[in-house]
Symmetry: C2
C-alpha cells in the first residue's frame, strides 16, 4: 500500500507529456523577443544548476523534467538561494519519480534574496563549476535573474500561483495558477452546492493570492458565486459592506438566507482609506518604537490612534482587527496581510449593517481561508504541460547561449508556442522602501481586461439567481481534462476554453 | 459558458452507471436478511414519496435516479420532514440534469425529526395519496423510518459522510463517506506536500465527522500524516499533548520543523476528563440558569467553576476555550462541538509544552477545518455507483411490498450485492436525554478493527519519516477511478482496494 505512495501518484507518473516543438530549439530575434528557428543538432555540453525560489507552485517538478530532457548535466540546488549561498548542490539523475507530481519538495525552496549578494553568488557558481543557472520563481526571482544575467548565463522560468506575473500576449500565465485556482474552485463550487442544499449559511471565503485578485477573479469565473470582491476596484470599505449587506437583505426577502462571498487575500491593501490607516499606523510604529515598547496595551492603542486621520475608520473596526493593526510588524516593517482575517472582518461588519437595514434577517456565517491546500496540489493537466514545456524552452535557451531571458509559452489554445522575453524589456522603475529600483512589475487585475469585464457583466445575475457552477475536481484523464484558466482564455482572446 | 454549468458537470451527466443486478428484483429471506431472488416482471404501480434528511452527502441525487428507474410514480418531498409536514410535494420527472451531481439541492433537506409527530406524518401521507415512503438519511432518520414502518410502507436508504452508520458485513458503508474523505484526503495530501516543500510549518487540521473518528482514520490511511488522533482511543488530554509535543521535538532534532496533525471533530467528547468537565459545566448551566442570567462574565465564570471536580483541567485551558465552554448551550442543552476550535486548543497547548521540553524549538502553526467543502462535492465514482444501486434496491423493496428495511450493498469489491436489513434487527436500547429509547446505534471506530490496527502498526513510521501520500483529486475517468475507501476495504477483508 505504501509503494509509490498512492494509486493516483503511481498513475500520473505514467501520463505522457506533449512537447510543443522538437526540442532543443535554436532561437532567432523577432519583434524584440526570441522565437524558435529550428532544432539544435549539436550543442556544447554545459553544467547547469537549477533552483526554486519563493512559495511552491504546481508544475515545478515538470520544469525539471523538461530541463533534464535537453541538458546533459543538470545540478539541483537545495532550498533556493539559501542552498546556493551554502553550496548545497547535487547531480540530478532520473526524474521518473517526480514527473507530474505537485510541490517543490524534490529541491525544496526558500525566500532568500540575493540583491546585496550578487558577487558572492557569482563566486559560488564559479567555485562549483556552474556554467549556467535556471531560476524558477515569481516576479522577485525574475528581478534576481536580471541582476545576475550580465555576469552569468541565467534563464528565468515564471511560476506563481498568484497569477501576478503576466506580460500581455507574451506571457499569458506562469505555471501554478491553474492548479491552485482549480483546487479552490472545486471547494467553492462544493460550498455553493452545500448552501443550496442546506439553505441556511452564508460562507465568506478568503482566497490566497497576495496583493492581486487574479485568483479570486478566476475562481469567480469558474464558480459564479453570489458575490466576489476584486481588490483592484478600490472600493471604500463602507461601500463593500453596503453591497454585501444589500445582497443579504434582498436574497433573504426572496427566501434565500444563504450565499457565498469570495474575498481576495490582498483586499485590505486596495481599500484607499484602509491603506491610509495601515500606512499611518506603520509610520507611528516606526517613528515611536522606543516609546511604544514601554507602554501597556491600552496606552499603546491611545498613543498610536489619537492623531490618526483615519481615526473614524479605526473605531469602526472590530476590536480583534484593531489589535492586529496595532501589532508589531514583520522584519520589513510590513503588516502580514494574510494574517488579517478579512473574511471575518467583512462578515462582522455586514452582520451589523444587515440588522440596521432589515432587523431580524437570518444571517448565519461560516468562514474559510483556502491557501496552502492549493499551492502543492498535483498539477492540473494544463500546469503539467506548461511546466514541462517551460523546462524545454529554458533548457534550449541555455544550449543556444542566451542569457537574461524569461522562458514563456504563448498560443496556449493551439498547442503552445515557445517564446523568450528579454528580462530587460520587462523591467520598470518602482519605489520600494523609499528607493527607486528597477524591478519586474507585479501584474494586477486590469479593470479594462476582457476577463474582468465579463465578470462585471454577469455579477448581478449571479447575485440574484443561484446560477453557480460546481467545476468539480480537476481531471487528469477523460473528457474534462484539457481546460484552460477561464480568465486567461478571455484575456488572450481565445475562442475556446480548452488547450 | 453558463449552459450546463461547468464542462465537468456536462461530462459527468454522461457517465454510465452500472447496476449490480437486473432490477427491479424480488427478495427472499436468508439468515435474517433479504437477498435478491430473481427479477420482478409485473408490479402493482405505487405512488412513492422520497425525502432527504440531515446534512447533505454526495451520491444522494443518484439514489433518486435509481428509484426513478424502477418506480413509475415518484414524488419528491422538499426540505425533508419539514416539507412532508407542510405537504410540500412535487412529481419527479426527468432526472438527467442531476445524474452524478453532488449535493441535496434537487429536493433540499432539513433536520426536522418526527418522533413526536408520527400520527401527523401518517395523516399527511394518506391525504397526499402516498403509498410508500423512502427516507434517505443517517442513523436518526433510520430510527424515524422504523417508527413509521408498522403503519406505512417505508424503506430507509443509508447516507452519512461521517461513516457512523455501519453494520458489520451487511452495511460496509453508506454513500457520502467516500467523497468527503477523498476531498479531505486530497487537501491533506497537498498540505503534506507543502510542508515538505516549504519546510517550516506544522498544520493542525480538524476534520468534520461528528462524534466518531471514521473520517480522520480514513484520511490518515490515505495520506499517512505525521500524526492522527483517533477520538475512540480515549486518551487523556495531557497524553495527547505529550505525544504531539514529543514528535515536534524529535522531528526538530532531525531538522524537520514541519508536520501535519489530523484532529477529529468529536475529539473533545472522547477525552474522559474533558467529557467530565463539559458534563459538569452543562449541569451547572442547566441547574442555575436563573442565577447565571444575572451575573457578569467574571462572576459567572467563578460561580460555575468554583466547585468543579475538573477545575485543574479548566484552568489548564486557554481562555478562549474557557469562554466557549461557559457559553450558553443550544436548544438541546448541548455544546456545539464543531464550534470548539480543537485544532487551535491542541496547537496552543503543544506550543507551551514544546518550549518546556526543548526551549527554542521552531514551531510555526497553521490551522484548518475541513467540513462543508466535503459534504457536497460531486460524488466519487464509488459514491455515484453506491447511491444509484441503493436507489435501485430501495425501489425494488417497495415494489416487493417490504417495509421497515434498510437498503444496502455488500461485496463491494465484487461489483456489489443487494441486501436489505430489517431495521428492527439494527435497533438497540440507548439512554437519550435521561430516557431509554430504541434507536439505531451510532457506529464508532472499533479499536480491534483491521483498519484501526493497520493504522496503529504504521503510525510510528509515518511520524518519524515523511512517507506521506498525496492521493490527488478524485478521478471520474481513467486508471485511478475505481478506488474503495481504504478503511472499508480493510475492515471487510477485501483483497483489493478497487471496486
Amino acid at each position: 500500500m505504501e509503494v509509490g505512495r498512492s494509486l493516483f501518484e503511481r498513475e500520473i507518473r505514467k501520463r505522457e507529456l506533449r512537447a510543443c516543438a522538437e526540442f532543443p530549439v535554436r532561437f532567432a530575434e523577432h519583434e524584440g523577443v526570441l522565437v524558435p528557428a529550428g532544432r539544435i543538432e549539436h550543442a556544447t555540453p554545459k553544467r547547469v544548476a537549477v533552483l526554486f525560489s519563493g512559495g511552491p507552485a504546481a508544475g515545478g517538478h515538470n520544469v525539471l523534467v523538461g530541463l533534464k530532457q535537453v541538458l546533459s548535466q543538470l545540478v539541483g540546488v537545495r532550498e533556493g538561494f539559501k542552498g546556493l549561498l551554502a553550496g548545497d548542490f547535487f547531480e540530478i539523475q532520473n526524474l521518473d519519480e517526480i514527473k507530474n507530481t505537485g510541490g517543490f519538495d524534490y529541491l525544496g525552496t526558500s525566500r532568500v534574496k540575493i540583491k546585496e549578494r550578487v558577487e558572492e553568488t557569482l563566486a559560488l557558481c564559479k567555485k562549483n563549476h556552474i556554467d549556467a543557472l535556471v531560476i524558477i520563481g515569481g516576479d522577485d526571482s525574475a528581478t534576481n535573474a536580471a541582476l545576475l544575467a550580465p555576469h552569468l548565463q541565467v534563464i528565468s522560468v515564471p511560476k506563481t500561483m498568484d497569477g501576478d506575473l503576466q506580460y500581455g500576449k507574451l506571457l499569458p500565465i506562469p505555471f501554478g495558477f491553474d492548479t491552485a485556482t482549480k483546487v479552490y474552485a472545486e471547494l467553492v463550487g462544493n460550498i455553493l452546492q452545500d448552501t443550496k442544499s442546506s439553505l441556511k449559511y452564508w460562507h465568506f471565503v478568503k482566497l490566497m493570492g497576495r496583493t492581486a485578485s487574479h485568483v479570486t477573479l478566476e475562481v469567480a469565473l469558474q464558480t459564479k458565486p453570489t458575490i466576489a470582491i476584486i481588490g483592484e476596484e478600490q472600493h471604500r470599505l463602507t461601500d463593500i459592506i453596503e453591497t454585501i449587506a444589500n445582497a443579504v437583505v434582498e436574497r433573504s426577502k426572496a427566501g434565500k438566507n444563504y450565499g457565498v462571498v469570495l474575498v481576495p487575500e490582498g483586499l485590505l491593501e486596495f481599500i484607499p482609506e484602509m491603506n491610509q490607516l495601515i500606512g499611518e499606523i506603520d509610520s507611528m510604529l516606526g517613528r515611536h518604537q522606543g516609546t511604544l515598547a514601554e507602554l501597556g496595551p491600552d496606552e499603546r492603542k491611545q498613543f498610536i490612534t489619537i492623531n490618526l486621520e483615519q481615526r473614524g475608520l479605526f473605531n469602526f473596526l472590530p476590536s480583534y482587527i484593531q489589535e492586529m493593526l496595532l501589532a508589531d510588524r514583520d522584519a520589513h516593517g510590513n503588516l502580514t496581510v494574510s494574517q488579517v482575517e478579512t473574511e471575518r472582518l467583512l462578515s462582522d461588519l455586514v452582520a451589523k449593517r444587515v440588522q440596521e437595514l432589515a432587523p431580524g434577517t437570518k444571517f448565519n456565517v461560516n468562514h474559510h481561508f483556502f491557501g496552502y491546500e492549493g499551492r502543492c496540489g498535483a498539477p492540473s493537466a494544463f500546469d503539467a504541460m506548461l511546466g514541462y514545456n517551460l523546462g524545454l524552452v529554458a533548457g534550449s535557451l541555455i544550449l543556444d547561449g542566451r542569457t537574461g531571458y524569461l522562458a514563456s509559452l504563448t498560443s496556449l489554445n493551439e498547442g503552445g508556442k515557445a517564446v523568450a522575453i528579454p528580462l530587460s524589456k520587462m523591467m520598470h522603475e518602482e519605489e520600494r522602501e523609499g528607493e527607486k529600483e528597477q524591478v519586474i512589475e507585479k501584474a494586477l487585475v486590469k479593470l479594462d481586461s476582457a476577463a474582468y469585464k465579463f465578470f462585471v457583466s454577469r455579477q448581478d445575475v449571479w447575485m440574484r439567481t443561484d446560477r453557480f457552477a460546481s467545476p468539480g475536481p480537476r481531471q487528469l484523464w477523460g473528457p474534462a481534462t484539457n481546460q484552460l484558466p477561464i480568465s486567461v482564455a478571455l484575456n488572450q482572446g481565445y475562442s475556446s476554453l480548452n488547450f
